[in-house]
Symmetry: C2
Amino acid sequence: MRIAVVGVGLIGGSIGLAARALGHEVVGFDADARVLVQARERGAVDAGAARLAAALAGADAAFVAAPVGVLPAVVQATLDAAQSGCVVSDVGSTKRTLIAASADERFVGGHPLAGAETAGVRHARAELFRGATWYLTPATGTSGVLYERLHRLLAAFGAQPTAIDAGEHDRVMSSVSHLPHVLANVLVAQAARALGEDAERLPAIGPSFRDATRVAGANGAIWTDIYLANRDALIAGIDDVGARLARVREALLAGDREALASWNEGAAEDRRALLEAGVAGGPVHELRASVPNRPGVIADIALALGRANVNIVDMALSPSAGGTQGVVALWIRGDEQADRACELISGQGIPVARA
Amino acid sequence: MRIAVVGVGLIGGSIGLAARALGHEVVGFDADARVLVQARERGAVDAGAARLAAALAGADAAFVAAPVGVLPAVVQATLDAAQSGCVVSDVGSTKRTLIAASADERFVGGHPLAGAETAGVRHARAELFRGATWYLTPATGTSGVLYERLHRLLAAFGAQPTAIDAGEHDRVMSSVSHLPHVLANVLVAQAARALGEDAERLPAIGPSFRDATRVAGANGAIWTDIYLANRDALIAGIDDVGARLARVREALLAGDREALASWNEGAAEDRRALLEAGVAGGPVHELRASVPNRPGVIADIALALGRANVNIVDMALSPSAGGTQGVVALWIRGDEQADRACELISGQGIPVARA
């Protein structure tokens, strides 16, 4: 396969390395020509293109790894330059800003949950995505063939591609990432101010404070964009936190021991449930579904399974000769998960069987 | 020395082990007789007393390690049972609730910042306090002789005794511990609810969420008491967080990139400043101050140095024969810190010199 990487930083460079390790040909483009030189030296691309169109020429898949702030524009330019059979994805940490691009059957929004502590192609590595959830946000118009190609490629990187609705993705990320960052920033600011001139006499920052503020003031160039791109979900999250704090405040003011104890116990249960979620194991089952050849059917299946937290380990699509029907093979880990997948697919009126 | 430990759990048991390792005699008391048996088996006490008064008989120092909720009552009972020359301290994580006891010249509030992930005397160990800040909250009436005895004992445990005003202590702890716990609870609750029925489909909790919520739902038996005992400072902290969140919300709503960027940058600076604070090193200097023999003078010096983040590595008090004057030797780490200590002590009208 020929793969275009648009923006060759840590993530783009790691995609290049992972793809090249699989034997694919990778052409890179970057707004900064020096970065492209580094990417070649690092072995993250076979060649660098001076213009976006040149990078896309003949590409079967393209990844846009540009900053969130310019992402919609670069994705659109990439779609304009890409050929008809090229799947285009991105790696941005918010997804609803790309809703316009989702009207294009070649576009599938993406977001690998992979480390970004260090930036730049110098830190890129082929193993970055191994074991990482890689969210995909197919839309109703998404081409099943192109979705499957992307899914298989990401699975080959060692990632776990997981379909999710774009809006749901942004709410999830607001809850589990953006809001914790906001609260970390608020915590350090209040501590610095609360201690006032005595700030210097804080000899022993406890582990709870260290943990809670580890991400405070994270890379501003990236995070300002993320906060803005996901501001609707983030504002909703801030309002929710405000309402919850108001209730704790009330219980404190009233000296309501029972309310505080049950609130604290609830938090313990919530954390347990959240951390235990999504831990799946067991043998891998192959399912085969006969799908009508209409746009969006693969995306529908992927989203339905994603919504139920059923992880598709791998997938393969075989269009029929006649072109009206096809077979999609799905590999699902875990007995229960495979049963659930059969149910969900049958529920969509699609015949499915264990292979 | 004969040392009484009232409440022989993780902290009380570790005090017993540390004291016995130094050759002191330790008598324990616990409301639960079985715990006392375990403490003897663990070697945390030389003997267990069936009644509080028996544990205090002849004691030179007493540590009350009872739950925060009953702490004021148990401290008072301990003071009632202790002889006139016995220094009484506690290990509670809030200090203003003990303000009544501080009227007694024998009482010095205390709070070791040492791990409490695991509870019970079974997990007690002599090294628990090594390197840990151990806050002390002497009051104006505190006996200098008894304060010095306590300070030296804690330093011998390997801890860093640090004098701090009780109210200031509670504000600091609210900022760096209690509030992070509250926000962790709020974060997990909002995530669990925001994801609603989809909570189970949270396949990949990011590191920022894990870090920020590590303490969510911490031991309810302990934390409900802590929240209540420190509710004034905690309510002030919650109000401050609310006001800060409102400003972030406003910037998000207005799409104010500059405001968000500078807020984020401020958080990065605050964190850096907070974590770098209190890191002191250098050679240890001995200072000798001639102090008038009046109550509170040692507490005043300790508080003044504590406030300036000057750490007293060790101290020794030699009352003069006449009883009107004494000499206190202070060991201070770091050239700059020793200079600062001289300044501060001279500033109180007390003659001081490098030894």
